[in-house]
């Protein structure tokens, strides 16, 4: 089965007083695609998701599902499944009754209802906890039940509103991988809101970075990481060293090194260049620097060095190199800046 397509065209949400929660959002999801909406709090990502759910009415623009404009369809007829940040399970119902609720609303006969609810709970690995109440479940289990509840009605679109942000780090990673696996298996078109860039890059087919009610960039995780379209995206997605540079022609000069300029449209002149820590290496010769601190991250090590000019930068390298604080080292560039921003 292929999922529904979703299209936001020029969607605007204006609050009384004139501030815009959404300022002309254009976004397209193909059938079965998993798209993450990423951005800092207040950027409009949750508003966009809630507009698709029908929990917010938009001021102008159109929201289409499978080619039908749903902007005026009330929430309870939009046929979407939604998982909230937390505490959305009905506390007076068991997990199974929670999952059955949507089927009950669709007047599914009792026996079928029970079977489908059980199957859905099994899908999220909680078949044995159907009789528990929300307060008897852990946070991760509650979110699984909420996921089962959202999926059981086979909605056209699945909406996830920061479903992992209230969970512990370990559970968070495990559940996010499970959600992705389930989504791939079911082929359901999914919109996932998060403020955690690592999470977005890890699970989504494409990531849309939002800022101030607009989509700043949309692309695959690789595109977003390797070719951020703006300083904001470069800064928000992944770690970057922000270094002064000068653009001339198709080259950018950073700390005396001539590096290739990826963005051919960049104007000549003084810029801030964003260099990923893995694009800098410790070397026998190159730019002299002093080690400030170093941290062990399991499979790799990151070291902060201070250059003679006073600039600080982060170098990512093998755990076998173990520079000590105060040690004199040399660094050199091994890759191009992912983005440059005019000063």
């Amino acid at each position: 089965m292929t999922g529904a397509t979703v299209r936001f065209s020029n969607v605007v949400k204006e609050y009384p007083g004139g501030t815009r929660g959404l300022d002309g959002v254009d976004l397209e999801l193909t059938g079965g695609e998993f798209v993450a909406l990423l951005g800092p709090s207040g950027c409009g990502k949750t508003t966009a998701l809630r507009s698709l759910a029908g929990l917010e009415t938009v001021t102008s623009g159109r929201i289409m599902v499978d080619g039908d404009d749903v902007s005026t369809v009330p929430v309870n007829r939009r046929d979407i499944g939604m998982v909230f940040q937390s505490y959305s399970l009905f506390p007076h119902m068991t997990a199974a009754e929670n999952v059955e609720f949507g089927l009950r609303m669709r007047r599914v006969p009792a026996t079928e209802r029970r079977e489908r609810a059980a199957a859905s709970l099994e899908l999220v690995g909680l078949a044995h906890l159907g009789a528990r109440y929300a307060h008897q479940l852990s946070g991760g289990q509650q979110q699984r039940v909420a996921l089962a509840r959202a999926l059981v009605t086979r909605p056209r679109v699945l909406l996830l509103d920061e479903p992992l942000s209230a969970l512990d780090a370990k559970v968070r990673v495990a559940l996010r991988d499970e959600i992705r696996a389930l989504q791939t298996e079911l082929g359901i078109t999914t919109l996932f809101v998060t403020h955690d860039q690592e999470e977005a890059l890890a699970v989504a087919d494409r990531v849309a970075v939002m800022r101030a009610g607009r989509i700043e960039q949309i692309g695959t995780p690789e595109e977003l990481y390797g070719r951020p379209a703006s300083a904001f995206v470069a800064d928000f997605v992944g770690l970057s060293n922000r270094l002064p540079g000068v653009v001339a022609g198709d080259r950018v000069s950073v700390l005396g090194s001539e590096l290739p300029l990826l963005d051919q449209a960049a104007a000549s002149g003084h810029v801030e260049a964003f260099v990923r820590p893995e694009d800098v290496v410790l070397a026998a010769d190159g730019i002299p620097a002093t080690v400030v601190s170093t941290s062990f991250l399991g499979s790799l090590r990151r070291t902060v060095v201070e250059l003679e000019s006073g600039e600080r930068m982060t170098v990512q390298h093998s755990v076998d190199d173990r520079p000590g604080a105060g040690e004199r080292v040399h660094v050199r560039f091994a890759g191009a800046p992912v983005a440059v921003a005019a000063l």
Binding site: Y15, T57, P74
Partner: protein
């Protein structure tokens, strides 16, 4: 904005309900006012009865009433002192040293809700015959009994503040910075509990000023017993003083509301 999914009622439903109930509840209050303004020539309204209260000529007639007001104010002050002195150190000590006793203290403080004043007074009568022998029959001794009746309210006010402040960490931090316990108490803990303590004091004042049962059956004079006595001969004056007392209590509680509404998280 959120399309028909919020829990709140529509503005129309809200204002219809609040309007109708508000109107019904305004009737007795407005009637009280009308009642005291009654009695001018040909059924016209007059403020004579209000001005008469301040007339020195009537001072003797109202002496009992003014004594009641005085006694109630005195009782309010003494009760606040007793309740705060007994409750605050205990609650702090329990929070810091004996967290397991919290349930016990809470239970004890809530018990007076279960013991009606009219029941308490049956047992207070013999207790007060002893108290009178030891401390005389002056009215302030009643404050000990009042302290018990306000315990649930005062406890709740302070506890709600206490549970928002991590007194254990605060006192450990202050101690680790070299503060002696006296400084911890007066410079760190009490300033953070100001809000709860103030609310407890105000609610205590309100309850004490409204207390009738115990004073009446132990034969003491306070505002409420004096009001009942005056009402037998002069219902108008009783109603005027009731209105004033209600207005005073309303203002007092409005102030509590403002104090507790200011978000405690934002305090510097």
């Amino acid at each position: 904005m959120s399309a028909g999914t919020s829990v709140a009622p529509s503005p129309l439903a809200r204002w219809v309900i609040l309007g109708v109930v508000g109107l019904l509840f305004a009737v007795p209050i407005v009637s009280m006012l009308g009642f005291t303004l009654r009695g001018g020539a040909d059924g016209a309204l007059t403020i004579e009865r209000w001005t008469a209260i301040l007339d020195p000529e009537n001072a003797r007639a109202y002496r009992n009433l003014f004594q009641g007001v005085g006694n109630s104010l005195l009782l309010a002050v003494v009760t606040v002192a007793i309740v705060l002195a007994v409750l605050v150190p205990t609650m702090l000590l329990v929070a810091i040293r004996y967290p397991r006793l919290r349930r016990v203290v809470e239970f004890v403080c809530i018990v007076p809700i279960t013991i009606p004043a009219i029941v308490l007074v049956v047992g207070l009568a013999p207790v007060y015959s002893v108290v009178t022998r030891l401390a005389g029959s002056s009215v302030w001794t009643l404050a000990f009994a009042y302290g018990v009746t306000v315990l649930p309210y005062a406890y709740r006010a302070i506890q709600s503040n206490l549970s928002a402040v991590d007194v254990v960490t605060l006192s450990e931090a202050a101690r680790s910075l070299g503060a002696p316990w006296v400084s911890v108490l007066f410079r760190v803990l009490l300033p953070n509990l100001r809000r709860g303590i103030l609310a407890a004091a105000f609610i205590t004042v309100a309850v004490v000023l409204g207390e009738f049962t115990i004073a009446s059956l132990l034969n003491r004079v306070n505002l409420q017993t004096a009001l009942v006595q005056v009402s037998r001969s002069d219902p108008y004056t009783a109603v005027i003083f009731s209105l004033l007392a209600l207005a005073f209590a309303f203002t007092l509680l409005l102030v509590i509301g403002r104090i507790t509404a200011a978000r405690p998280r934002r305090t510097p």
